[in-house]
């Protein structure tokens, strides 16, 4: 009886101690989670030298994720803390609010996606007045060629895409071009289209059969490709300017069982695009090096902050991803 009592007491003690330890651990975990998520234990987050803001559209285009990645990479090199503001791609005017916030808050630097049509020069001047280093980034140099711009040069991207299609299809190339959403101005004036047009000049007979601009949204590429192929069955090549549209077009080609009969030249590289390239659905992808752009933008900011003058517009260039690999 006495032994059983001791065993019971020992069991209870162990259970009680175990429960206390478990409770303590769980409560501690909860407090840590709250501390990390709510309290922001500042002592655990190192101080940075510069407060840098990146304003980009809230778009699933890999160009922007690469851009943010490049900025973060550059921030590490320049001891900067990066704050990313994403505005709705369907509401580009919201970018102005973030611009004003950045200026009103007195941040050190502002890297802002600046597509054609936006008041980049005005912003640059406003930022200069508030002592904020302004570095516009994008695909094409905005009007007025603001200083410090770093872009991917969609004119060259379009030219390379057209060249690749025409090299494969020759004079029989009937090309459908899908422009990215959010552009301003006439579609024919888009550098991307102008690059395609320029490239097919060398292949008489080849022509752009369709030109359309994708609507904002994830399914825009599919929608545009379906409409384009439905309207003009002679199209045997589609060129698109970003990763989201590339994946949408590839899915349409697969769904229509037109793999091999329609040549697709896309943009950028994601795991899905690489898989489509490997399977032959996508012939080639013109990859804009947005990481480089982001990193270079931060380095440009740091140079200006350190007293350097803004450089002229810089174009990052691109490389091509095919089933054979990367070139150049």
């Amino acid at each position: 009886m006495k032994r059983a009592a001791w065993i019971l007491a020992a069991l209870f003690g162990a259970a009680f101690l175990g429960a206390i330890l478990m409770n303590a651990r769980l409560v501690d975990q909860s407090r840590r989670a709250f501390a990390g998520g709510v309290f922001r234990e500042t002592s655990r987050i190192p101080k940075a030298r510069y407060h840098l803001v990146l304003v980009i559209p809230d778009d699933d285009d890999s160009f922007f994720s690469g851009l943010a990645e490049g900025v973060r990479s550059g921030a590490l090199e320049t001891d900067s803390a990066v704050q990313v503001f994403r505005y709705a791609a369907s509401s580009p005017a919201d970018s102005e609010r973030f611009f004003e916030i950045a200026l009103g808050a007195g941040v050190d630097g502002l890297i802002m996606y600046s597509p054609r049509g936006e008041p980049v020069l005005r912003r640059a001047e406003a930022a200069l007045r508030r002592g904020v280093v302004f570095v516009p980034v994008g695909t094409d140099v905005p009007e007025g060629e603001p200083p410090g711009f770093i872009g991917s040069a969609s004119l060259l991207q379009g030219f390379e895409g057209g060249r690749r299609i025409c090299a494969a299809l020759g004079a029989s190339a009937r090309i459908g071009v899908i422009l990215p959403a959010g552009g301003a101005g006439p579609e024919e004036e888009e550098p991307l289209f102008r690059g395609v047009s320029a490239s097919i000049q060398a292949f008489p007979g080849a022509r752009v059969s369709a030109l359309t601009r994708a609507r904002p949204g994830t399914l825009a590429g599919e929608e545009a490709a379906s409409a384009m192929l439905g309207a003009d069955p002679s199209i045997n090549a589609i060129f698109c300017a970003n990763s989201r549209d590339t994946m949408g077009v590839a899915q349409v080609i697969v769904d229509l069982n037109r793999v091999g009969s329609i040549l697709v030249v896309g943009a950028d590289e994601t795991p899905e695009i690489l898989r489509y390239i490997e399977k032959g659905v996508v012939t080639a992808s013109i990859v804009r090096d947005s990481k480089w752009i982001g990193r270079e933008a931060v380095l440009a900011f740091a140079r200006i902050k350190d007293g350097g003058a803004p450089a002229g517009p810089v174009e990052a260039g691109f490389y091509v991803r095919t089933a054979e690999g990367r070139s150049p």
Binding site: M1, A4, A5, L8, A9, L11, F12, A15, F16, A19, I20, M22, N23, L26, V27, Q29, S30, R31, A33, F34, G36, G37, V38, F39, R40, T42, I45, P46, K47, A48, R49, Y50, H51, A75, A81, V82, Q83, R97, E100, I101, A102, G104, A105, G106, V107, D108
Partner: protein, 489 residues
């Protein structure tokens, strides 16, 4: 050290069980309170944002009123709320750290500074009556205000998002905590119940054993198991007392039983003696019925003696005198005690009478130790033996015989002996005479000897005895052995 009694044990045990359950419940409660406090911190940052929003709204409202009316009350309100807003802004992070919320707070702090600067400038311009300037700064403040509100919404959204993420993990942990605490409480309850049952059993089992032992004692079972000795509590005392009481009852009962046995044997002895007395009485009655009235005979003999003396017949007178003396002695109660000397005198009278009858045919010898003369003896125990010796022992002896009567002291006994030189008895005859009267033969045979034996036994309360030694052709010797302590009268 003195151990706790039953009451103390009950209190201690109850306190232990209560302590176990209470500690588990208390701990579960404290853990729950800790978790609740953890939840509270989810909304701490949101409260700061609400404070800023409130101060900002009141500052903007009072500023608007002041710029519109230039009211001193509005100015006081503006100063009050802008001061509070400034204090709220100081609670925001202003350092550059790579964290989304901290940077948002820094943005907010910067915007609030801008707002306050514009507001302050507009008030100053209002006082300076610079309409264009205060209008411009007020509009700038209003734009900044929109941005601040937007930023606060965004920060709160981040807070809520973060809080929800934290709460999601917290919630799963809360479930684990609650389950573990519930298990702990259940376990503590079971443990408490087990302790209570165990303790109750240990407490009541000795009492139950005592009850069973008491029940067994009621049935006369004195060997039923008792609780083991040595318990230092009231139950131990009860068990020890019960064992002692049981032993006392056992001893008392055995003594009572032995006493009853003794009384029973004494009663049997009394009954036997009474029976003997009745038989003696019957014998005496029988003797009286079969004899002439002794008083009449005694008076007649006394008259005869007077007559013989008056006529000069001395021998006849002596006969009458001795016969009368003998009858006088014999008529006294036979249950009385007399001295041996009296008995011997009676025997001598009887022998004188016998000689008168038988002449010198029988020779009688009487001898006595002086120490034996004063010994107490039942009356009339020697005369029947002498009568038997003459009447039975020497009756068939033509040549006569000798009857020897003696009294002496041997050790702590007085021995009265009557011996004859007659034909003796066979063992069967001896047994017949000493035993109960049978229906065969002379019904009076052995009556005298048996009477003597009974009266000696009765008078000495069994301590005296009568030995009969006889064999055919070797005579008979009857010896009465009396204790020297005396005879019961």
């Amino acid at each position: 050290m003195r151990r706790a009694g039953v009451r103390g044990k009950i209190i201690l045990n109850s306190a232990l069980v209560l302590l176990i359950v209470a500690s588990a419940v208390l701990y579960a409660g404290l853990a729950s309170v800790g978790l609740a406090r953890s939840v509270e911190i989810l909304f701490r940052n949101n409260r700061l944002m609400e404070d800023i929003r409130d101060s900002l709204g009141r500052t903007e409202a009072s500023l608007t009123v002041y710029l519109s009316t230039k009211s001193s009350d509005a100015l006081k309100d503006y100063i009050k709320y802008s001061t509070r807003l400034s204090e709220d802004a100081r609670r925001l992070n202003r350092e550059i750290r790579a964290d989304e919320v901290l940077l948002l707070e820094r943005d907010l702090a910067g915007l609030l500074d801008s707002f306050l600067a514009d507001a302050e400038a507009s008030v100053a311009s209002k006082r300076g009556r610079d309409v264009a300037a205060y209008t411009e700064r007020f509009e700038s403040a209003e734009r900044t205000l929109d941005l601040v509100m937007f930023l606060i919404d965004r920060i709160e959204g981040v807070f809520i998002s973060d809080s929800l993420a934290a709460f999601s993990g917290f919630n799963s942990r809360v479930t684990s905590v609650l389950v573990s605490n519930a298990v702990l409480v259940v376990f503590a309850t079971l443990m408490g119940m087990a302790i209570l049952v165990s303790f109750s059993f240990r407490l009541t089992e000795p009492l139950a054993e005592l009850a069973r032992a008491a029940e067994a004692l009621g049935r006369g079972d004195y060997d039923h198991d008792l609780p083991p000795p040595g318990r230092p509590d009231e139950i131990g005392v009860m068990a020890a007392s019960f064992a002692s009481m049981r032993e006392s009852v056992r001893r008392a009962f055995e003594e009572q039983r032995a006493k009853a046995e003794l009384e029973r044997s004494l009663m049997e002895e009394r009954v036997r003696l009474l029976d003997m007395d009745h038989k003696l009485k019957d014998a005496e009655l029988l003797a009286l019925q079969t004899q002439i009235n002794p008083h009449f005979l005694f008076n007649t003999l006394a008259a005869g003696q007077q007559l013989a003396l008056s006529e000069g017949a001395d021998r006849t007178g002596d006969f009458m005198e001795n016969l009368a003396a003998f009858i006088r002695y014999a008529l006294k109660p036979p249950s009385r005690s007399v001295r041996v000397s009296d008995e011997l005198e009676c025997v001598r009278l009887y022998i004188w009478l016998l000689r008168l009858r038988f002449g010198e045919r029988y020779r009688f010898e009487v001898e006595a130790d002086d120490r034996a003369l004063s010994v107490e003896t039942p009356a009339l125990v020697l005369q029947p033996l002498v009568e038997n010796a003459v009447g039975h022992g020497l009756r068939d002896r033509e040549e006569g015989g000798t009857v020897r009567v003696s009294a002496r002291v041997e050790g702590r006994e007085a021995v009265l002996s009557v011996e004859d030189s007659g034909g003796g008895m066979s063992p069967a005859e001896r047994e017949r005479i000493l035993g109960e009267p049978a229906g065969e033969g002379d019904p009076r045979a052995g009556i005298g000897l048996r009477n003597v034996i009974r009266r000696v036994t009765l008078a000495t309360e069994g301590r005296g005895r009568v030995d009969v030694e006889s064999s055919e052709g070797a005579g008979t010797a009857v010896r009465i052995r009396l204790p020297l302590e005396g005879v019961v009268p």
